[in-house]
């Protein structure tokens, strides 16, 4: 009975949430959907901040809500990073950070203050007295740290990174990943950014108008051409590969996966270790003859498994390598016709860029 099972029905005038979800007990679940689709409402139900009548919530076999029994929010071992950072205005930055930490048993403290301070870059901020004078990004980083410091068994994050610049994001993301890797805290993560989702998530839930449109493993969900995600600019495939070789001179690493081999920026891992990478559909071009003298290092021989219109001018392709799903590609309709691409055809996939994400 591990995993999270959530069933909520909640109506507001003009909106109702109607979900019945099973989520894995580990890893990061991305909650993805347009503005007003009920993402925040769902998180609030899970946190026990919204009391959905007849709701049901079980986390790792422990019932948090069912029928008339309702575990109050503070008894739920969860961390919540709100969409709008809500620091306690009367507490210094340090006391904000320590607020939750002090309230859990010493034996439960798996995340240390100095760890969080170092990883979220809070050193310059921790002695500030007045949180209202912090910048937007600073506030949000502190709110994240504060939630992490409760060493929760479930972490709910409502667009935690949207107020951050790319550089801060790049610094924090690895920590969130590590957190999940090391501490095994399941995370439900609301994001508008498919990039973030792909980088972080193991599981994806697509919400639309309060209903679950799709829920599944990241690899499957993001590679499905029939879902709304396929139309996003950032659509693409997420693959799991093993470190196969290192090229120290050029700072490159070769990854092997079911779909072939890819050269990526140096990965500081031992040979054989598994990593996750993301290949955007728009970064994959197709050639019918083996490309020559090109800066594109990654070229895979692939077979077209599916072609689907993405927009009036573009199509999405699913590509298989050795019978298995390997890549998604987005090209113009004209290129499809000029190259005469049809399902089943053998082609060369040129991968311009691979984003290593875990």
């Amino acid at each position: 009975m591990t995993g999270i099972h959530a069933r909520f029905d909640l109506g507001y005038p003009g909106f109702d949430l109607h979900v019945d979800l099973r989520l894995p007990a580990r890893g990061i679940t991305a909650l993805f959907g347009p503005s007003g689709s009920g993402k925040t409402t769902l998180l609030r139900c899970i946190a026990g901040l919204e009391q959905a009548p007849d709701g049901m919530l079980r986390v790792d076999g422990v019932t948090w809500q069912e029928g008339s029994s309702f575990l109050p929010a503070y008894r739920r071992s969860l961390g919540y990073v709100f969409q709008e950072a809500s620091l306690f205005p009367h507490l210094s930055v340090r006391h904000n950070l320590e607020y939750g930490l002090k309230r859990i048993r010493a034996s439960e403290r798996k995340v240390r203050l100095d760890q969080v301070v170092a990883l979220l870059g809070l050193g310059r901020l921790i002695d500030r007295q007045d949180p209202s004078s912090l910048s937007g990004g600073e506030r949000q980083r502190i709110a994240i740290g504060r939630a992490l410091l409760t060493s929760p068994r479930l972490l709910l994050m409502d667009e935690p990174l949207s107020a951050l610049d790319a550089a801060s994001k790049q610094e924090i993301l690895p920590y969130l990943e590590a957190l999940h890797g090391e501490l095994d805290i399941p995370v439900i993560y609301v994001s508008h950014s498919l990039g973030e989702v792909a980088r972080l998530a193991d599981h994806v839930v697509l919400l639309e108008q309060g209903r679950v449109v799709a829920s599944g493993a990241l690899y499957e969900t993001l590679s499905r051409l029939d879902l709304p995600t396929a139309h996003l600019d950032d659509a693409g495939a997420v693959i799991e590969a093993a470190v196969a070789a290192q090229d120290d001179a050029y700072h490159l690493t070769r990854l092997d996966y079911s779909g072939g081999s890819l050269w990526v920026s140096k990965v500081e891992r031992a040979i054989g270790q598994r990593v996750r990478a993301r290949i955007l559909a728009r970064d994959v071009s197709i050639a019918t003859v083996p490309p020559q003298g090109s800066s594109i290092a990654n070229i895979l021989a692939a077979r077209i498994a599916e072609i689907r219109d993405e927009s009036p001018d573009r199509v999405n392709l699913r590509l298989h390598v050795g019978g298995e799903f390997a890549l998604m590609s987005r090209i113009t309709r004209r290129s499809r016709d000029q190259l005469g691409l049809v399902v089943g055809m053998e082609v060369f996939a040129q991968v311009k860029s691979v984003a290593l994400i875990a």
């Binding site: 809500s86 009367h90 607020y99 309230r103 007045d130």
Partner: protein, 227 residues
Amino acid sequence: MESAFSSAGLSTIWLTFKLAAVVTLILLLVGTPIAWWLARSRSWWKGPVGAVVALPIVLPPTVIGFYLLVAMGPDGPLGHFTQSLGIGPLPFTFAGLVIASVFYSLPFVVQPLQNAFEMVPDRVLETAATLRASALDTFFSVALPLAKPGFLTASVLGFAHTVGEFGVVLMIGGNIPGETRVVSVQIYDHVEAMEYAAAHWLSAGMVVFAFVVLLALYTLNPTGRRK
């Protein structure tokens, strides 16, 4: 003519201070949960309870004093109760004064507290809950500090009102030197006896003392504005 600073005068001042301090303390202890409930509850009872709490203000103090005297007296319901506890009747005792003053000043404490609690955003309370703070813990660690300006006001109004009040005090206390004669009653006596000089001195003393205390409160405790 009795001087304000004779030993009897000092005992009166001390008694006043003690009464006001004890009453303020009790008012805050009693008023805070009531105010919290009034501020946060969605119960139907909210309106009626709020109205009842505010009621004592509309009656003249002497009249409240009269009803309290009757209620606390040997034949009154409260008197019966205290006698059955073996405490004896409360009028003309310090305890009686305290109870009467608490009753009379309650609205002056509950109202500002209720306001302050209403102004505490739901969001910070929710945040505290997600950080493992129980309702009680949240109350003390978040709501209370955020409601500080309300507490300041409540304390000032409660304390000052207890010091300044004399209608109830005169009725319930009986103006017994060293026991229930407080400064306000003393000044009243002076004025009634046309001992104006003594009344002036005592009033001036009160005003200066109050001014200093209030000034200290306001200056040391700047009730920060919300950003």
